[in-house]
């Protein structure tokens, strides 16, 4: 067989952050298939040292511009755990609503702007404004809704200000504006499902261990709870290090992770594989329509899982706003008394489970910090998937460098990696 393929992507596009793909196939033999993260490191864990507890969340929010709410929430919860602070019920609901806003915004951005162009054969969403105006209109409405929720609850679309140690600054005044837009979004999501039915996902399966939060009986998990894997590992939140097992790879500025196998996956697909039963029936129905049932081992199905989650979130947000309507004068903040202590928090960022871990001294200043990012956990798995993908497809008839490059790129994008996040 005379198959020679050579793919070299320097700074993959339509992903957050900087990563490279190298594939070399010589005479049908795989010589190399690499996914390398080359993002500039920022040393957040070092910068956190010595900082006052009130700086932790605003600082770690800047780890990532796309999932700044997740970082904020993870950070706040870690601090609250260290100080033994219990936030009021209304604050917990508001935080989950803000989280939903972020997930919706992030998933919509990924599905329409980063992933969809591959399926519609264009380099970006910009040309779609002419060729598929209705798709773009839906995309903008959904993303806009996510941003609006963030804005109303968090005070800003990116890097929230109202979410603070002890709860949420105040009951937002803009809540009543949201339900009508959410109702509209349900229709837009239905149209999106129809669109996704027309997309051909690559037929690729590699058995994988999926890690996520585990539902604690109160619905699909987003903020804090036990940790679970499809290989049967179950750990407490505070025991996260046993779940992540970070190590440094020479080619990457991002660390890599392993658990039962030499890599594992986190993200929408992992959440869904572990917590399918907790999805709202409307979301389960959509999953069924799109052929997604747990446990699914096709990484490209992560796109579908995101869409299913959007449906879940839209319905859930309406419920949360309903609950809040009866809590107009309920407290949203408790007084915070700092003390020496240690806290861990796990939050499901849009692209997977995110951990923050701080140690505080008696002055309320950080002495040690650790953040483990979803994409850090995914990177090794992407790398392994890519090897398998190339092995499966390299020998396919008519395979060209371009097609292989597209396939590999689509694979990385399917994970919706947050690369600068992973190199924080």
């Amino acid at each position: 067989m005379k198959i020679n393929l050579d793919v070299d992507v320097h700074h993959l596009t339509r992903v957050e952050g900087h990563g490279n793909i190298h594939v070399k196939v010589k005479n049908g033999k795989l010589l190399e298939a690499r996914w390398d993260v080359v993002e500039t490191p920022r040393y957040f864990e070092v910068m956190l040292k010595g900082k006052h507890y009130s700086s932790a969340a605003p600082l770690t929010a800047r780890i990532c511009g796309i999932c700044s709410f997740s970082h904020t929430l993870a950070s706040l919860r870690a601090t609250e755990a260290a100080f033994g602070v219990e936030i009021p019920e209304a604050a917990a609901i508001l935080r989950l609503l803000a989280k939903h806003g972020e997930t919706l915004q992030s998933h919509a951005l990924h599905l329409f702007f980063l992933a969809a162009p591959d399926f519609l054969d264009v380099p970006s969403a910009i040309p779609l404004m002419e060729s598929h105006p209705e798709v773009v209109a839906i995309a903008l409405r959904l993303k806009g809704l996510g941003n609006k929720i963030c804005d109303v609850v968090g005070g800003r679309q990116t890097h929230p200000v109202s979410l603070q140690v002890g709860g949420v600054a105040a009951m937002p005044t803009g809540l009543p504006d949201l339900p009508p837009v959410l109702e509209e979004a349900l229709e837009d999501l239905a149209s999106t499902v129809e669109l996704f039915k027309t997309f051909q996902l690559p037929d690729f399966v590699r058995e994988t261990e999926f890690v996520s939060l585990r539902a604690n009986g109160d619905g699909y998990p987003f903020i804090g709870s036990d940790l679970i894997s499809t290989d049967g590992v179950l750990k407490a939140e505070a025991d996260y290090l046993a779940m992540t097992n970070e190590y440094v790879d020479g080619n990457n500025t991002s660390k890599w992770c392993r658990l039962s196998r030499d890599s594992f996956a986190v993200g929408a697909l992992a959440r869904l594989n572990n917590n399918y039963a907790q999805l709202r029936p409307e979301a389960q129905a959509v999953a069924g329509e799109l052929g997604l049932a747990p446990v699914n081992h096709n990484p490209f199905m992560n796109n579908v899982a995101q869409l299913v989650e959007c449906v879940h979130i839209a319905h859930d947000s309406l419920d949360l706003i309903d609950q809040l309507a009866d809590m107009k004068s309920a407290p949203t903040m408790v007084e915070v008394k700092y003390r020496a202590g240690e806290g861990v928090s796990a939050v499901e960022a849009p692209r997977g489970i995110l951990y923050h871990h701080y140690k505080y001294n008696k002055d309320g200043k950080i002495t040690k910090a650790n953040c483990v990012i979803p994409t850090t956990q995914n990177n090794a798995n992407i790398h392994n998937d890519m090897r398998a993908l190339v092995e499966q497809f390299a020998t396919e008839k008519g395979m060209t460098n371009e097609r292989l490059e597209l396939l590999c790129s689509m694979l990385v994008r399917a994970y919706d990696p947050c690369i600068s996040c992973s190199v924080h």
Binding site: R14, Y43, R62, I126
Partner: protein, 250 residues
Amino acid sequence: MKYLGIDPIKPKIAVFDFTSCEGCELQLANKEDTLAGFLNAVEIVTFREISSAASDDYDIAFIEGAISRSDEITRLMDIRKKAKVLVALGSCACFGGVNRMKNAYDLNQANREVYGKIAKETLPVRSVKEIVPVDLEIHGCPVSKAEVERIVQHLVWDIPYTQPVYPVCFECKQRYATCSFDLGQLCLGPITRGGCGAPCPVGGLSCWGCRGPSEDPNYEEFFRIANEYGYGDDEIEERLNFFGGFEGVR
């Protein structure tokens, strides 16, 4: 899209990211209600975060992020050569942003702490203007898309743009907010450049100064006030250093 018989220039825009969270880039794709108009007014030729198309032929380069590695310096110098107008987008590009706090630590030790034995290359954080000349700065962490729109309009019509010179307090007051100082928070509003609409004090967190100093700020009085309200020099220092815009004012 003619205006009063005048054809706008449709500038070719390229967006590049360096050491940052890519939040400012993300803002470019936000403000969904006017996004179509925004994307129509310019020709985006390179924007890695949302597009696979790329070209070296551009008029305006938006630079997001601080500079903290040697390859970034080379890349930036190359962009400067190609761009007619170079815009620093966001506080990381303008001042180094939160990244600048890294400079207070020993980098070798930092490397050991994060990466153990396999150290990664890193340089002290610098802003874009510390490396190449910058034509226009858009402050903020993240930038406000409304302000970006305004600036892009000025670029599209090629007319000069003036930044607001007043401090954040002014807009904070216009939003009917209660002063953070009254609520027991240290606020940099009195010395920080306005234009953001004061989302932070209005949202319940005081202003942390992401947009850097306003024009002719009264530092002396501000420090006196902060002390008077009971904030120690350490606290003030930590806050001033947060976004890198106030380096050396104290």
